[in-house]
Amino acid sequence: MTRHTLIRTCAPIALASLLACGPASAQTTLTFLMVTGSDSMAAAEALAKAYEAKHPDVTVEIEARPGGSEGDNLIKTRLATSEMPDVFLYNSGSLMQALKPETALLDISDLPSQAGVAKDFKDVVSAGGKVYGVPFGTTMAGGIFYNKDIYRELGLSPPKTWAEFMANNEKIKAAGKVAVAQTYGATWTSQLFVLADFYNVQKAVPNFAADYTANRAKYATTPAALKGFEHLAEVHEKGLQNPDFGAATYEDGLAMVATGQAAHYPMLSFAVGALKQTNPDDLKNLGFFSQPGDDAAQNGLTVWMPMALFAPATTPNKEVARDFLDFVASVEGCKVGMSVNTVQGPSVVQGCDLPADVPPAISDMLPYFKEGRTAPALEFLSPIKGPSLEQITVEVGSGMRAPAEAAALYDEDVRKQAKQLGLPNW
């Protein structure tokens, strides 16, 4: 290319992006697939910027994909057709296992920063003894957000057992407030009572995850596992929900519990991120407790590992992709993420401590971690999660299907998933 044409080609591009045509020689463009959603997007942009500052020869280009199951589909399609960008965000745990990591993903076990990453996390991004992902964001928990003003007003204290929880609910209802916000307009939010109950399931049946994966334990026939469905039905039967529970959305649920229209909202702790945007002033009135079980002495928290960044095995920029992931997993990268992204729980990167000013809902979580009263969610222990759970829990939570029947139906759903994965014993 002559200099003349170079200038001509560069000029319009340079107008759009000053970086594009720099010292043209060794410029590498690293493509980075993110989920839409301003919170994690901000963290991705900050990480890209920090990395570009350290490596001027690299441009990081972020592309957004839809979230949820539509996004899952896109990821699988792109991997299968070798159209995957150099680095992408995806779930750790069983969803990542479904990507066939041994063939589809780049092995990054030997990155220097892996030494500082918690083993709990590495376990959920590994396959066949090799590590494939680095943490993006912090851990989070599934439990119940509660409105501290209402608790103070009615003289309540965070419950340690389900019975106490229901007693609190009756008092809240009697006071003319919504006891439990439910938001089936966003179907996924209906699963919380079942998923966040897993700490209690594991305490009662320590082998449940393994037996369930091996087709030896079922939701319908394990009383402890059935509890989650029963709780959901009970909340509906006793009329503790908001009247528009069928249409209300996730944002409505957050607003209700934040502004004191509702006392409780079962949710994942990542909701703090959305609340920071929508109700920043109400965050101080929000507390968080784990989903209580039968025994006050066995009270603990169900924990979700962070999502992870992966690189596809087919990436043409292997070295740059590895280096970028190494940066993300370092304490420096973790701090960059934490500075813009909302903290949802403790980090899995050693030495990357939480800032002092975390909202009360987050600091409420810390004792569980400190005292070791946590268990990973089932999706990190077993590769099988039935795809229809959210529809089934909507049915239970709307009184359309009895809990026992729903659990049996979910067991059927799980069977299909296990068969597709080719698990033994199904």
């Binding site: 069928g246 529809q391 909507v394």
Partner: protein, 333 residues
């Protein structure tokens, strides 16, 4: 060189299609020319028979695009429907996917829902579309404006319509129920009541789709010569008689088009249902297409493709006899 091989196969397929087309061209009846003969004779002036004024090569450009981008993937999907498929490797498992699909507890409900939805939307669009078309071809004021208003919803994106109506059908704050409450009626849970959700979506489908049906009917009505009505008026026929004896029979091609298209659209319907209820609450408004999509989302590609094939068969079972019946009636007339 797998790519080269594939490309060659594709060229072969196209060549075969071209051959098929030209071969049956020469096989056809007396009015068809013999292509080889004509070429050999070296020109139009010396050919023995005049070629058909409707040459088959008119179909060729469309046929190539259609075959490569639609028929070939569709055909391969039949094979994938008999595999357990993770997009990279497909393991042949026979009819297991189909067996699995029919043991899916919601398929039966999804099947019934699909039929209800298709029949309902198709019937409503046909009746309302014809009614509106008659009104909008009659001599009323503001006719042009009315046509534009009725047709307007067709223009808006389905996702956009879905979002807007979902908001308006909100059980407590939505426009519909707020309006009903103001006259003292407690509005229903349009999309949250499992018994009602499917019908609410069908209503929105009618709202959005009736403009297209009306347009097709207007085209059909306009093609009817005014002379017929003139003659009927002279014979003293009432308006109702004119409608039954002239309009209905002569607008048949348009009716066939509307019924067929809206029925197929209803059986395949997915976008609006997905935008409004995602098949919910629970599984209450699931149709086959949404069940298929959920399997697809869940990563059950072979299973989902099997669902595609089942939907295809269901549609064939309904539409093909209907088309044959329509065509026979057309011939009879």
């Amino acid at each position: 060189m797998p790519r080269l091989h594939k490309d060659k196969m594709r060229t072969d397929i196209m060549a075969r299609i071209a051959q098929t087309i030209s071969r049956s061209d020469s096989k056809a009846t007396a009015e068809t020319p013999d292509i080889t003969e004509r070429t050999a004779a070296g020109g139009e002036t010396t050919r023995r028979r005049r070629p058909s004024p409707y040459p088959h090569w008119f179909l060729l450009p469309a046929a190539i695009i259609y075959t490569v981008l639609f028929l070939v993937p569709t055909a391969t999907s039949f094979w994938y429907s008999m595999t357990r498929w993770d997009l990279k490797t497909a393991t042949f498992i026979g009819f297991e996917n189909f067996h699995q699909f029919f043991s899916e507890p919601f398929l039966v409900q999804g099947l019934v829902n699909t039929l209800i939805y298709a029949a309902l939307t198709s019937a409503m669009k046909t009746v309302c579309g014809l009614g509106l078309a008659v009104l909008l071809t009659s001599d009323i004021v503001a006719r042009g404006l009315l046509r534009a208003i009725v047709f307007f919803p067709v223009l808006v994106s389905t996702i956009g319509v879905g979002i807007a109506f979902t908001v308006m059908m909100h059980p407590t704050r939505g426009v519909f129920n707020v309006a009903l409450a103001s006259v003292g009626v407690a509005g229903p849970g349009w999309l949250t009541d499992p018994a009602l959700a499917l019908f609410s979506v069908a209503l929105v489908d009618l709202w959005k789709g009736v403009g297209l049906a009306t347009l097709i009917f207007i085209a059909g009505l306009s093609a009817i010569s005014p002379d017929y009505y003139e003659a009927a008026r002279i014979d003293g026929a009432t308006r109702l008689q004119q409608f039954r004896r002239i309009t209905l029979p002569l607008v048949r091609p348009a009716t066939v088009t509307v019924v067929t298209l809206s029925l197929i659209g209803g059986l395949r319907s997915f976008d609006l249902i997905w935008a409004m209820t995602r098949g919910g609450p629970g599984f209450a408004s699931d149709v086959i297409a949404s069940v298929i999509y959920k399997q697809y989302q869940a990563g059950f590609y072979g299973l989902s493709t099997a669902g595609n094939v089942i939907l295809f068969l269901l549609i064939s079972v309904i539409i093909l006899p209907l088309t044959v019946w329509f065509q026979r009636r057309e011939v009879e007339q």
